[in-house]
């Protein structure tokens, strides 16, 4: 049951096996890749959501150049088109496999784990071959080199990632669990591998590695909060039916549950909605089977709170305050929300505009996503729906977002959930500032001090010994 979780033993095993080269068997030269294999590779690339990072908005597919914000600085995605000069056109299958599954470039240097190779390491050889066939033959070559990633010291030393990999990379591809059904194994393979759900939904440790013991139990991405998607009925999605999960992954919304926004909307838009019904069913089945992680403070499911509520008549005929920051939650609701979510928070008759009660957006104790969706709105780039919810960052002040957020949780969601002005200010600024660079530098400094101390001690000891020797 827990086989999918990186146990310390597995980690050790991977450390021990590091020396051995895990070679991929090339069954046929790349040029002979069949159309079917290229097509399958395309599907796998969609499932892996390669485009999310490797295509910049308005840029050519897979030409890279998207700066991916991380706590240690901005990592610029690379060109993974088959351009020989600027992309991966010169990669052999083995080099491609090493990049995808081990995080090692063709020149032997390490990738940063912003590339989810710790998840892709689960991929089997056939899928890596298909992906290789797709990237070599199904993608338009773009001769354009993105600017290099420049991280601050000490992270600019890519070799440091080799050490990180020693600790945190499990090299073994996915091993099916013979006790489980084929569907379960398919779901496990996708979730732990290609669709790399854990990249966002699993909390990370001090070294920014996923904590396997808390697999998919929810994590803050700095701004958006990736929910607990373990099967706990209160803290996770245990009260979601399989079809709720499938519909959510297909359309970005499950009526009476919640809507995808922020990075999850991107994941559904670019990737998950393209998966076959069978694969989505398998994902749902697997997610329902993993160990439930419970937050003891959460006593009700996020989507079980609230109900229809209206008090608009109480503000009719009353002038708005001169200062926008003095508007009440109800006045803000009337001005900004009621147009679509309607007078009682009930949404539109067909659910196209969702109700605000029985909605994870208002029912989650962590209100970061509620703030983020008010600031950023919801926009889908590829499915044609475009602006699903307008962004209000330009219109609402920090105080207004806090007032409105509190009104929404009070009347439609978890009344214990609150929004503070400081929280809004922090999220608007892009999340908490990270101390990671500072900590790494302090760690290095301490290490150097310790090293010098040791050297001094040794020298001192040697000198003392010498002094202790009888003089000539």
């Amino acid at each position: 049951m827990n086989a999918h979780i990186h146990k310390p033993a597995l980690l050790l095993a991977s450390l021990l096996s590091l020396g051995a080269v895990h070679a991929i068997a090339a069954t046929a030269p790349a040029s002979a890749a069949s159309a079917a294999e290229v097509q399958r590779g395309h599907y796998l690339a969609l499932a892996g959501d390669c485009e999310a990072c490797h295509t910049a908005p308005g840029g050519k597919p897979f030409a890279g150049e998207l700066p991916v914000a991380t706590p240690i600085g901005s990592i610029v995605s690379t060109n993974i088109t088959p351009s020989r000069s600027d992309g991966i056109g010169g990669y052999t299958l083995q080099q491609f496999s090493d990049a995808v599954r081990k995080g090692v470039r063709s020149d032997g240097k390490n990738l940063y784990p912003a590339m989810p190779y710790t998840a892709y390491a689960q991929l089997d050889d056939a899928d890596v071959r298909a992906l290789y066939a797709y990237f070599m033959h199904g993608v338009q070559s773009v001769d354009r080199r993105p600017p290099p990633t420049r991280l601050p010291f000490p992270f600019n030393i890519r070799a440091s990632m080799a050490f990180w990999n020693l600790l945190f990379l499990d090299h073994k591809p996915f091993a099916p669990d013979p006790k489980q059904s084929a569907e379960w194994n398919r779901g496990a393979y996708l979730v732990r591998g290609l669709t790399h759900c854990g990249t966002c939904h699993t909390p990370r440790n001090f070294f920014m590695a996923e904590q396997s013991s808390r697999f998919l139990s929810g994590a803050s991405l700095g701004t958006w909060f990736a929910a607990n998607i373990t099967p706990d009925p209160n803290s996770g999605i245990g009260n979601w039916g399989d079809q709720d999960i499938v519909q959510y992954l297909q359309r970005g919304s499950a009526p009476g549950k919640g809507q995808a926004a922020g990075p999850m909307a991107e994941a559904v838009d670019h990737s998950l909605r393209h998966l076959t019904g069978a694969d989505l069913d398998a994902i749902a089945l697997y997610l329902k089977s993993i160990p439930a992680r419970r937050d003891p403070n959460i006593t009700r499911a996020a989507d079980s709170w609230g109900g229809s509520y209206a008090d608009l008549a109480s503000i009719r005929g009353k002038p708005l305050p001169k200062k926008p920051d003095q508007m009440t939650g109800l006045q803000l609701y009337d001005a900004y929300c009621a147009t679509c979510h309607q007078d009682r928070g009930q949404g539109s008759f067909d659910g196209g505009l969702p109700p605000l009660f029985h909605n994870t957006a208002t029912g989650r104790r962590n209100t970061d996503n509620l703030v983020m969706v008010m600031l950023d709105g919801i926009a889908w780039r590829t499915d044609g729906s475009g602006v699903r919810m307008p962004a209000f960052a330009q219109e609402l002040s920090d105080r207004q977002v806090a007032t409105l957020g509190d009104y929404l949780t009070q009347h439609f969601g978890d009344p214990a959930a609150t929004v503070t002005v400081d929280q809004v200010r922090m999220l608007r600024a892009g999340g908490p500032s990270s101390n990671l660079v500072l900590l790494a530098r302090i760690g290095l400094a301490v290490a150097i001090v310790i090293l010098i101390t040791i050297i001094v001690a040794i020298v001192w000891a040697l000198l003392r010994r010498r002094r202790a020797l009888p003089s000539h």
Binding site: I315, D334, C340, G386, R388, P390, E395
Partner: protein
């Protein structure tokens, strides 16, 4: 931070025309300063004010009134800003805020018809335009792609490229009109700047039916969207800057403009080029206000035509009950119309017109009528439901010909800053009234085809106004007869351009905004030819 006191291009007025011209020029790297008399407002505050207003059908009521930038308002009573000199009332309303009057338009974004620009030649009435429909086509397309316009293909206005999107879904009421009036009358989707899908970073229409006075979700393109684009391109906007004088130099070029802040402190702004885009009433007012010893009749007025040839679109209408439930009020307020009377040989005799169906919810007007009739109790509820489901309205949108005596002048009364108020002199001629008479036959036929009962024609000889303020800065090639040339440049001042509905020398039968926007973009492109202007490219190479 102090407002800039100089820019390469100074734009007076931040409405959709001025802001889009500013955007176009700012995109070319020019420094652009937009001076707006009114304050900056925020959509959601207007939405809240509208919901709280007891005057739901007064589309001015949610908009703030600024004593330093007064705007005409006629509900619940005339606020006395736009002085009525008669003989016919001209109660035009406009909004003096950043973004201008499109804040409360219905997003009707019509092209002219090709013959509209040649009615003197073809029908012996009005004047011809100095440009052809074909010349304007590329800028129409540009405007439509910026605004996000959709419409039917068979409205009489030919196009070389498709609309950027499909129309918003046809409301049930309009579908019933279309089905029941065919084949006598083809009812087609109006040409509107309203998103049927996410476009330009704005969402699709969700059918609030409050396009006027405010689209609550930013689904229809507004002047404020143009302002935001202009600002993103580098233009600066100074709100609450009431321009009261345009200053010419010794050579007749414009050297500067002067504006008051709300405390009547005066500022002078210099520039190389100036765009006057303060609407068809405030723009001529400003030119007349700027009279000097050398220009005693006002600037740009050697022809004496500044403020003259005021036109609009008067409407008469028929309200009746259809014999089935159509439930006006779902979807946009003005989705469909009949366009077969926009052009024809009859134009030598009477006004052309469009026939437009309202889709505004009838609940309020029916309620008011029932209360006035003294109906109450269960009978009230029964009647309200019956009438609100069946009451419909069709109106004409009549062409008005240019007459020099229809005009805007300076009133003797002054506003809070001591600036003379505008005064409207207006008369609806027999040409237009004959058009109204002809359209009454259409009204009757439409009512008959819809099984209409309870027919209520608008009072004979009385017309509602449509706030399509046109003609007061008319363009034409003869400097003795027209204020501006074919590119909107004033004949008298080389570096003073006019953008807005005022430059249109005739009013035709369509809402004037899209034509004014296309002309404004064309003016900007003429001032500084864009290297990569899509419109310019299209104009040169037909598809």
């Amino acid at each position: 931070m102090a407002a800039p006191s100089s820019a390469e291009v100074v734009v007076i007025g931040s409405g959709i025309c001025g802001a889009l011209a500013a955007w176009r020029l700012a995109q070319q790297g020019l420094s652009v300063l937009i001076l707006e008399a009114g304050p900056r407002i925020e959509r959601a505050r207007i939405v809240a004010a509208f919901r709280n207003s007891p005057y739901k059908s007064d589309w001015m009521s949610p908009y703030p009134f600024s004593p330093w930038a007064p705007q005409p308002d006629f509900t619940p009573k005339d606020n006395g800003y736009l002085i009525q000199a008669g003989p016919y009332r001209y109660p035009a309303e406009y909004i003096r805020v950043v973004g201008g009057t499109t804040w409360h338009w219905a997003a009707q974004a019509w092209r002219l018809m090709p013959n509209d620009v040649r009615i003197k030649t073809l029908y012996g009435v009005g004047v011809d335009w100095p440009i052809t429909y074909d010349e304007l086509d590329a800028w129409y397309q540009d405007a439509e792609e910026i605004l996000g316009v959709a419409g039917a293909d068979n409205t009489g206005s030919p196009r070389k490229h498709p609309f950027p999107m499909q129309p918003v879904a046809e409301p049930w009421s309009m579908r019933r009109f279309r089905e029941r009036l065919a084949p006598a009358y083809p009812v087609v989707a109006n040409t509107v700047a309203r998103n049927s899908r996410s476009y330009g970073g704005r969402p699709a229409c969700v059918g609030n039916n409050s396009c006027q006075p405010i689209c609550p979700v930013n689904a229809q393109y507004l002047g404020i969207n143009a302002v935001e684009s202009a600002e993103a391109a580098g233009a600066k906007v100074v709100p609450n800057a009431v321009v009261y004088r345009i200053e010419p130099d010794a050579k007749g070029r414009i050297a500067a403009v002067h504006y008051y802040d709300p405390d009547k402190k005066s500022y002078r702004v210099t520039g190389k080029e100036f765009i006057l885009a303060a609407n068809g009433i405030e723009s001529p007012k400003l030119l007349l206000l700027s009279a000097t010893d050398k220009y005693p009749n006002g600037l740009a007025n050697s022809s004496g035509m500044v403020g003259r040839n005021l036109m609009d679109h008067p409407s008469s209408s028929l309200t009746f009950y259809a014999d089935e439930e159509v439930w006006l009020g779902r979807g946009p307020q003005s989705p469909s119309s009949i366009n077969t009377m926009r052009d024809g040989a009859f134009r030598s005799q009477h006004a052309a017109y469009r026939l437009d169906f309202t889709n505004i919810s009838q609940v309020l007007s029916v309620t008011e009528a029932l209360i006035a009739e003294g109906v109450y109790g269960t009978e009230f509820e029964k009647q309200l439901r019956w009438r609100a489901a069946r009451q419909v309205n069709v109106k004409n949108v009549l062409e008005v010909l240019p007459h020099p005596e229809n005009r805007i002048t300076l009133a003797s009364e002054k506003d809070a800053l001591g600036i003379p108020k505008p005064e409207a002199h207006y008369l609806i001629d027999d040409y237009t009234r004959r058009g109204a008479d002809v359209s009454k036959k259409d009204f009757a036929k439409i009512a008959q085809l819809m099984g209409g009962t309870g027919l209520r024609y608008s009072p004979e000889g009385q017309f509602a106004n449509n706030q399509h303020i046109t003609g007061t800065l008319g363009m034409g090639s003869d400097p003795a007869k027209f204020v501006t040339d074919g590119f909107g440049r004033t004949h008298d001042h080389e570096n003073l351009f006019c953008c807005g509905t005022g430059v249109m020398p005739t009013a035709a039968t369509m809402n004037s905004t899209l034509t004014a926007v296309a002309l404004a973009l064309r003016t900007a492109d003429h001032m500084h030819p864009a290297k990569s202007s899509a419109a310019a490219a299209r104009a040169e190479s037909p598809p």
